[in-house]
Amino acid sequence: MREINVSDITQTVADLFLQANYVIGEDVMDALQSAANQEPSPLGKHVLEQLMENNRAGADESLCVCQDTGLSVLFLTIGQEVHLTGGSLEDAVNAGVRKAYTEGYLRKSVVIDPLFHRKNTGDNTPCVQHVRIVPGDKVHILAIAKGFGSENMSRLTMLVPAAGVEGVTDFIVETVRLSGPNACPPLVVGVGLGGSFELAALMAKRATSLPLTRKHKDPRYAALEDELLKRINALGIGPAGYGGATTALKVHIITAPTHIAGLPVAVNICCHVARHAEATL
């Protein structure tokens, strides 16, 4: 049994949300540069260059790269040999979010009630938390700062198995087409295939945080990811929606076994920054 004090979790969560908001991953910067080199639209190329300059400035000056510093989403993977001490895990996570957003000059974007009382909570809590217990004595924390310009463009559908590859492809491409300029293209498209209604959505969210250099291990899905990216970029939406060949940087698919009667498809749209950071305690 390994003991970890939840105050360590608080500090790690705070650090991760600051990092996610200030520093954009090298994989994203490389993908933007390579897209800029190939973008045929002059305005599209200009937009891509602006995004890179903006991200460099954010990292250099410890400024959030986007004013929508997101709803805080956390994936906690906890080894079953770990004993968490010193208080409530959920409270400790929220304390970390509070610390990052109040001390780090990040915008507070959470309202306490979705419908009747949309009052800002003032510290970006509560954080959406997903906990999984696994063998081992480590705690892995993945922090995602999810902006809602792109979150609002996400969709989920329950297809019939007969819809097959074509049905899945059409739904994903149509989701991006409908998002048009609203989700701040170029996008990172996270897809959850299979599982249940809610698992599909969770997989799609997680897929948005995979490195852009990652290829699916199953060559059939790797090929589908490439085909989807080609179809999406053929839409012509382009950087900022002004027209161009770069509508998405990557499509990531995560799959799970599903019911004999179902083919759930969730598409979580993420803008190019795909802000996330992770750490293992």
Partner: protein, 185 residues
């Protein structure tokens, strides 16, 4: 390259701007998002005066991040404009001339822009730090309880934007993608 545009917009400037033009805006804008729009429309429905005169104004749809010491504002990129669509035609009727945001506008907004003569500028979502460098001062005009969603007045210098929808109703979000769409897949 870019056209230098002085705010407030004149009717002549509004007429001259074409979808696809890159511009640098200098002058002053007001800010507002969903919550502020909702309050403005509620006042109009009660027949009460607005806290800001919209005649000739340009509004920026933005909720900035907090400013660090010495900054006028924190990072301040555009929010999605379609959320304001339900309110916008009434504000255009009151003389609003310019809007800055990102993403599509509904048909009713575009019709009202043509009718009253207004222009919709796109700022690049994801360039919040660069944009904030063009914002020189910020003061709260109304609804301080809304925090970053309060109505502010910004003075801006060389604010980078693109004309997305012009006063004739030409829409870069339609025209741009048409040029690059591939239909042979």
């Amino acid at each position: 390259m870019e056209k230098h545009i002085q705010l407030p917009l004149t009717e002549e400037t509004v007429r001259d701007l074409q979808a696809g033009d890159r511009v640098l805006l200098t002058g002053s804008v007001i800010t507002g998002r969903d919550a502020a729009h909702k309050r403005l429309i509620a006042l109009l429905e009660e027949g009460k005066p607005l806290p800001v005169n919209l005649l000739g104004e340009t509004i920026y749809y933005v909720g900035p991040a907090p400013a660090r010491p010495g900054q006028a504002v924190g990072p301040a990129g555009p929010t999605s404009s379609y959320r304001m669509d339900a309110y916008t035609p009434r504000l255009l009727a009151l003389g609003l001339k310019g809007m800055i945001g990102k993403g599509e506008r509904g048909a009713e907004v575009i019709e009202a822009m043509k009718e009253y003569g207004a222009v919709y500028f796109g700022a690049v979502g994801g360039s919040a730090v660069l944009i904030s460098r063009s914002i020189e001062t910020s003061e709260v005009l109304a609804y301080p309880d809304l925090g970053p969603e309060a109505i502010h007045r910004f003075t801006i210098k060389d604010f980078p934007a693109v004309v997305v929808i012009d006063s004739q109703g030409n829409d870069l979000y339609q025209q741009g993608p048409q040029l690059y769409r591939k239909t042979d897949l």
